[in-house]
C-alpha cells in the first residue's frame, strides 16, 4: 500500500522531530500519528511504539533515537512522506540529539497544557533554533481538567518568543488535533533541499544492531543517491563497505531501490557491530567521494568511568557475555577487564555520562538478569611523574604513588546553563561550590539567563545536574563541552569499613573537597548498610590519615517475642527472604554491604 509513495519527489518529503519536556506526551503523540497514518494496524499496535525498551517506557525517556516513516495523504489530496526522527532526552546524549536534529527541517515543540513551558522545552527550543529548524508549538493534553491553554499561549509568546497563534492544540491521549498537526507539518515545515545527482553526502544519526543483518545505519541523505551494490566510504573512519540494502523506516523496515537527497532511511552494509560506525560520520561513495564531510562530527568519547562487578563472583563469566552482547548495540560504551581486592573480578567501563551509566547498569540487570555493583565513577585524570612520564588515570586503583607525582591535572568543561533570572543566586552558589570559574552571562530573552562557566568535569558528574534541576525547580537546562586539562591539587580518598579498605569506593578528589566528600560517603553508607550484630566503623582516609568517620551501632534488641505453633513457618519465611536479600549484598570482611550502598554514594543529596 505504500509502494507508490516512495517514488514521490523531494518536495513531498518532510523530515521532523518531536521535542518535549519529560512526560509532556511525546511518545503518545508519536503513537497517534503512527496510527493515524495507518503504519500499524490496531491489532499490532502497542503504546509507546517507538520506545521499544522497557526502561524507556518506565522512565518515560527515550534513550535511543528512533525513526519512522509516515505516509500521509494531505487534505490537498497530495501524498507526502513524513519522516519522524525521535530523539533521546538527556544531556548525556546531547550529541546524538544534535545529529538527529541536523537531519530534520522542522520540529514539533510539545508543551503540556497543564504544566506549561518547562526547562527542557526551552533547552530543546534553543537546540532547534541552532539548527535553523522550523518550529511548530503543539499544546498537548488539552483534555486535562487542569489544562490552561491561554496561559500556555502566553508563555509561548513571552518565554519562548514564538508566535502563539501558530500553536496547535491537541490531546494525544484522545487523538484530537492529530490531523491538524499532520497538516501543519506538510504546510509549515519546508521540504528538504539537495541534489540527487551530486556527490553522496549522508549523515549517520544512529546505528542499531540486528542479529541477522549486523549494523543498521540510520541516516539522512543530504546530497546524491545511494543504492544497493554501491561501495560506500565512511569519511571519518576511512573504511569502505558494500551496500547490501537500503530502505525506509516502515514497520517492519521496507527495502527500497535507492535513497536520495532529502530521504531518511537505513543502510545495511555488512558492518558487524555498531562500534564500527560513528554517529555523525558522513557517508559518501568510494568511487565519487565528496571533498569535505558534513559539518558537526564529534568523536564520541567516554568521559565517566566506573568498574562493574558481579555481586556473586560466580556470575563473572555471565557478566562478560552480557557486556559483549550489550556492546553490540551501544557504540559509546567501552569496557575492559578489571579487578578489585574487595569485589573481585570485574570490568572497567567508560560512559558518556552518569545517566548513560545508570542505563547500562539497569539494562544489564534487567535484560541479562545480573546483579551488579558499580564502583564510584571517575573522570580521567592526568599525572606528570618525577621521571617525566605522563599517565592518564581513570581508576583510583591505579592512583600513582603521591611521592612520584609532580603535576596533577583534571579535565575541565565549558558548561552552558539556561534558567529563569531569579534562580541566579542559587545557581552561582552551586557553580562556585563546584569550583566554577570564568563565567559569562547573557540574557537571551527577558527574564532568562544564560550562564557559561568553566568547571572541573569531576564535580559536574558528581551531582551537579540533579542539584541544578532541583534549585531551578526543573527550569534549568544544561549542556557542556570538554575544554582542556588544568592543574589541580588531587588526593586519593579511601573508604574503610571496619578497617577494611573498600577499593571500589575509593575516589580521586580535589584536596579541598576531600573532607566533605569523605564525610558524605560515610553518612551515605551509614544510611544504606543495615545494622548488624556488631558495631560497624566507617571511615574516610587520605593517605593513612582518617578525615571522616561514622559508626553504625549494633542491634541491641531484635527478637520476636512469641514463637509458638503458628509463628514458626511465618518466621522461617521471613528468614528465607532475608537470606535471599543477603545474596544481593557484598561481604567486605564480616560486613554485608548492600548494592544500594554503592549506588547511594553516587546520588545527589536532596537536602542540599
Amino acid at each position: 500500500m505504500y509502494g507508490k509513495a516512495f517514488y514521490l519527489i523531494m518536495k513531498n518529503i518532510r523530515n521532523f522531530s518531536i521535542i518535549a519536556h519529560i512526560d509532556h506526551g511525546k511518545s503518545t503523540l508519536a503513537d497517534r500519528m503512527i496510527q493515524y497514518c495507518g503504519v500499524v494496524d490496531d491489532r499490532n499496535f502497542k503504546d509507546q511504539i517507538l520506545d521499544s525498551m522497557d526502561i524507556e517506557r518506565e522512565r518515560g525517556i527515550t534513550i535511543k533515537s528512533q525513526a519512522i516513516t509516515l505516509p500521509y495523504r494531505s487534505k490537498d489530496g497530495k501524498d507526502y512522506i513524513l519522516n519522524l526522527i525521535d530523539t533521546p532526552g538527556h544531556v548525556d546524549f546531547s550529541y546524538e540529539v544534535s545529529r538527529s536534529l541536523a537531519s530534520c527541517e522542522g520540529v514539533l515543540l510539545l508543551i503540556d497544557a497543564a504544566q506549561g513551558v518547562q526547562a527542557q522545552t526551552v533547552a530543546n527550543l534553543y537546540m532547534a533554533m541552532e539548527h535553523d529548524l522550523e518550529i511548530i508549538p503543539v499544546i498537548n493534553k488539552i483534555d486535562l481538567p487542569a489544562a490552561d491553554v491561554d496561559k500556555v499561549m502566553e508563555q509561548i509568546d513571552s518565554e519562548l518568543g514564538l508566535d502563539p497563534y501558530m500553536s496547535l492544540p491537541c490531546s494525544a491521549k484522545e487523538g484530537t488535533g492529530v490531523e491538524d498537526i499532520l497538516e501543519a507539518i506538510v504546510h509549515k515545515i519546508p521540504p528538504p533541499k539537495g541534489d540527487p545527482q551530486a556527490e553522496l553526502a549522508t549523515t549517520i544519526f544512529d546505528a542499531q544492531y540486528d542479529p541477522f543483518r549486523g549494523t543498521i545505519i540510520h541516516c539522512r541523505v543530504f546530497e546524491g543517491t545511494i543504492r544497493a551494490g554501491d561501495i560506500i566510504r565512511l569519511m571519518h573512519d576511512e573504511t569502505t563497505h558494500r551496500v547490501e540494502e537500503v530502505g525506509a523506516f516502515l514497520l517492519p523496515r521496507q527495502k527500497k531501490d535507492s535513497l536520495s537527497a532529502g530521504d531518511v532511511g537505513y543502510i545495511i552494509a555488512g558492518i558487524k557491530t555498531v562500534s564500527d560506525v560513528q554517529i555523525g560520520d558522513t557517508i559518501t561513495l568510494d568511487k565519487r567521494p565528496r571533498k569535505e564531510p558534513l559539518p558537526g562530527f564529534k568523536e564520541s568519547k567516554p568521559v565517566v568511568f566506573a568498574s562493574i562487578y558481579p555481586i556473586a563472583s560466580d556470575d563473572y563469566e555471565e557478566l562478560a557475555v552480557a557486556l559483549e552482547k550489550y556492546k553490540l548495540n551501544d557504540a559509546s560504551f567501552a569496557y575492559q577487564k578489571d579487578s578489585s581486592i574487595a569485589l573481585g573480578q570485574g570490568f572497567r567501563c567508560g560512559f558518556l555520562g552518569l545517566l548513560h551509566l545508570e542505563i547500562v547498569q539497569e539494562r544489564l540487570e534487567r535484560e541479562y538478569d545480573l546483579s551488579i555493583i558499580l564502583s564510584v565513577p571517575s573522570v580521567r585524570y592526568r599525572f606528570t611523574l618525577n621521571d617525566g612520564d605522563v599517565v592518564y588515570i581513570d581508576n583510583p586503583a591505579y592512583y600513582p604513588d603521591p611521592m612520584s607525582i609532580t603535576t596533577s591535572e583534571e579535565p575541565y568543561i565549558r558548561a552552558a546553563m539556561m534558567f529563569p533570572e531569579h534562580h541566579m543566586g542559587a545557581v552561582m552558589k552551586l557553580c562556585k561550590e563546584k569550583r566554577g570559574e570564568n563565567s559569562t552571562l547573557s540574557y537571551p530573552s527577558p527574564g532568562r539567563i544564560e550562564l557559561v562557566i568553566e568547571m572541573p568535569l569531576a564535580d559536574v558528574i558528581y551531582d551537579f545536574y540533579d542539584r541544578l534541576k532541583s534549585i531551578t525547580q526543573g527550569y534549568g537546562s544544561f549542556d557542556y563541552d570538554i575544554l582542556d586539562y588544568r592543574q589541580s591539587s588531587l588526593v586519593l580518598l579511601d573508604i574503610l569499613v571496619n578497617g577494611d579498605r573498600v577499593d571500589a569506593l575509593s575516589q580521586i578528589v580535589h584536596r579541598g573537597s576531600a573532607r566533605a566528600r569523605g564525610l558524605r560517603a560515610c553518612e551515605r553508607l551509614k544510611e544504606e548498610i543495615p545494622r548488624q550484630m556488631f558495631k560497624i566503623a566507617i571511615q574516610g582516609a587520605v593517605g593513612g590519615e582518617i578525615i571522616s568517620r561514622t559508626t553504625i551501632s549494633a542491634y541491641r534488641k531484635d527478637v520476636t517475642a512469641k514463637c509458638y505453633g503458628g509463628d514458626i513457618s511465618r518466621k522461617r519465611k521471613l528468614l528465607e527472604k532475608q537470606k535471599k536479600g543477603k545474596k544481593r549484598m557484598k561481604m567486605v570482611g564480616s560486613v554485608a554491604i548492600p548494592q544500594s550502598a554503592f549506588i547511594s554514594i553516587l546520588k545527589s543529596d536532596p537536602t542540599q
Binding site: Q532, Y555, R556, K557, V559, T560, A561, G565, K571, R572
Partner: protein, 372 residues
C-alpha cells in the same frame, strides 16, 4: 520426643487491641464447635503412639464452662493414648476466674494454669483492650492458689507505647510477689492486622525506642534470674527446670505436635499443616467428614535446619552441635566458623561442650543471630 496436643478455643468476649490470634466473639457457636472438635479428635485416632502434654489455648478457653472443658479433656483421653504424667495447661482470662471455677479445672485434670494478667496497671489494661482490671488479676491469682494449683504461670506484656521503665518494674514486682512457677514476659509486637497496628500506621502511637526495649529485656532477665528463675526462652522464665513449659518446648526442638481446632498448627516429621482460620469453615469441613486442614507444607532439610537454628538460638538449651549435625546434616561449627567466632567475640554466644548457647545479650537479638 513424645508429641503434644494443642487445642485452640477460638472464642473471646471482646478482642484485645494487640492480639492477632484467631478468635470470634460469637459465643453461641461454642456447642457446635465442641461437637466438631470431638469429631476432629476422632479423625486422628490411632495416628500417634502417645502424648504427654495437652495445651488449651485461645482465644479464651476460660469462656467454656467446666462441663464443656471436662468433656474436651475426657475426649482427649478417650481418643488418644496419654502419658500418666501428662502436663495439662489452660490459658485463662483473670475476669473469668473464681475459686469454684479453678477447683473445677483441677478436677477436670488440668494441672498447669497460665493467667493472662498482662499488666497490673489499669491504664495499660484498658489501652490493651483487656476486659479485666488489675484487681481482677489479683483475685484470680489468689483463687487459683487457694484452689490448689501448684503450677501457675503469669503472662505479662511490656514495651507498650507510652510505658516507662518504672511502670513495667511495678507490674513485674507485683507479679513476682505471688511467686508464680512460671513467667511469660512478652515484648508487645504490634501486628499490622490489629487495631494497634492501625494506630501505629496512622502515627497515633509509637513503640518505645530500641534502647528502652533493650533495658526492659535485660533488666527483666537479670531481676528474675537473680531471684531464682531460669530464663529458658526469649520470653519465658521458670522457677525451676520442672516448671519449664513441657508443651511449649516441643515447638522449639521439632518435637511433633497435633493442633486441633480452627487455625491450629500441627507438625510431624517434616510436615507442618494448619486448620482453616474460620470457625464456620472448620465446622463445615468436619460435617462433610473432611479434615479441616487449610494447607500443609513439607519442609526440606534446609528449611528444617534454618528453623532448628533460629529456634535453638531462642532457648537457654541452645543448639546441640552433634545432634544438629545428625538431624540436619550440617556441621555448623565448621561451615559458619568465621561468623560464629565473630559473634562469640562480641559476647553474643558461648560455645562450650559441643553446644552453642545464646548469652542474655544474644537472646535480645536472637532474630539477627539466626540470620548468620
Amino acid at each position: 520426643m513424645v508429641p503434644g496436643i494443642y487445642i485452640h478455643i477460638p472464642f473471646c468476649l471482646s478482642k484485645c487491641s494487640y492480639c492477632d490470634f484467631y478468635s470470634v466473639t460469637s459465643t453461641e457457636k461454642i456447642p457446635r464447635f465442641i461437637e466438631s472438635l470431638l469429631k476432629e479428635m476422632e479423625m486422628y485416632r490411632g495416628c500417634f503412639n502417645r502424648f504427654d502434654t495437652l495445651y488449651l489455648g485461645g482465644g479464651t478457653p476460660s469462656l467454656l464452662d467446666s462441663a464443656q472443658l471436662a468433656k474436651i479433656i475426657d475426649s482427649v483421653h478417650k481418643y488418644f493414648p496419654m502419658s500418666a504424667d501428662t502436663e495439662v495447661t489452660i490459658e485463662v482470662n483473670p475476669g473469668d476466674v473464681s475459686r469454684e471455677m479453678a477447683e473445677s479445672l483441677l478436677k477436670a485434670g488440668i494441672n498447669r494454669i497460665s493467667i493472662g494478667v498482662q499488666s497490673f496497671d489499669d491504664n495499660i489494661l484498658s489501652f490493651l483492650g483487656r476486659r479485666h482490671s488489675s484487681a481482677d488479676a489479683i483475685s484470680a491469682i489468689e483463687d487459683v492458689r487457694n484452689a490448689g494449683f501448684d503450677n501457675m504461670g503469669l503472662d505479662l506484656i511490656y514495651g507498650i507505647p507510652g510505658q516507662d521503665f518504672r511502670s513495667w518494674m511495678e507490674t513485674l514486682h507485683t507479679a513476682h510477689s505471688f511467686t508464680p512457677e512460671h513467667f511469660s514476659c512478652y515484648q508487645l509486637t504490634i501486628e499490622s492486622s490489629t487495631p494497634l497496628g492501625l494506630k501505629y500506621r496512622s502515627g497515633e502511637i509509637a513503640p518505645p525506642d530500641e534502647d528502652l526495649l533493650y533495658e526492659f529485656f535485660m533488666r527483666t532477665s537479670e531481676l528474675l534470674e537473680a531471684s531464682g528463675y531460669t530464663h529458658y526462652e526469649v520470653s519465658n522464665f521458670a522457677r525451676s527446670d520442672k516448671f519449664m513449659s513441657r508443651h511449649n518446648r516441643k515447638y522449639w526442638d521439632h518435637t511433633p505436635y497435633l493442633g486441633l481446632g480452627p487455625a491450629a498448627h500441627s507438625f510431624s516429621g517434616n510436615r507442618r499443616w494448619w486448620n482453616h482460620r474460620c470457625v464456620d469453615r472448620y465446622i463445615e469441613e468436619i460435617n462433610r467428614k473432611m479434615p479441616p486442614i487449610e494447607k500443609s507444607e513439607i519442609l526440606t532439610l534446609e528449611q528444617l535446619r534454618l528453623e532448628a537454628l533460629y529456634l535453638g538460638l531462642r532457648t537457654k538449651m541452645g543448639i546441640d552441635l552433634q545432634d544438629f549435625s545428625k538431624r540436619y546434616d550440617f556441621d555448623l561449627l565448621d561451615k559458619k566458623n568465621k561468623v560464629l567466632e565473630r559473634i562469640r567475640e562480641e559476647g553474643l554466644i558461648i560455645i562450650r561442650d559441643n553446644h552453642i548457647y545464646p548469652t542474655r545479650r544474644g537472646l535480645a537479638i536472637s532474630d539477627s543471630l539466626s540470620a548468620i
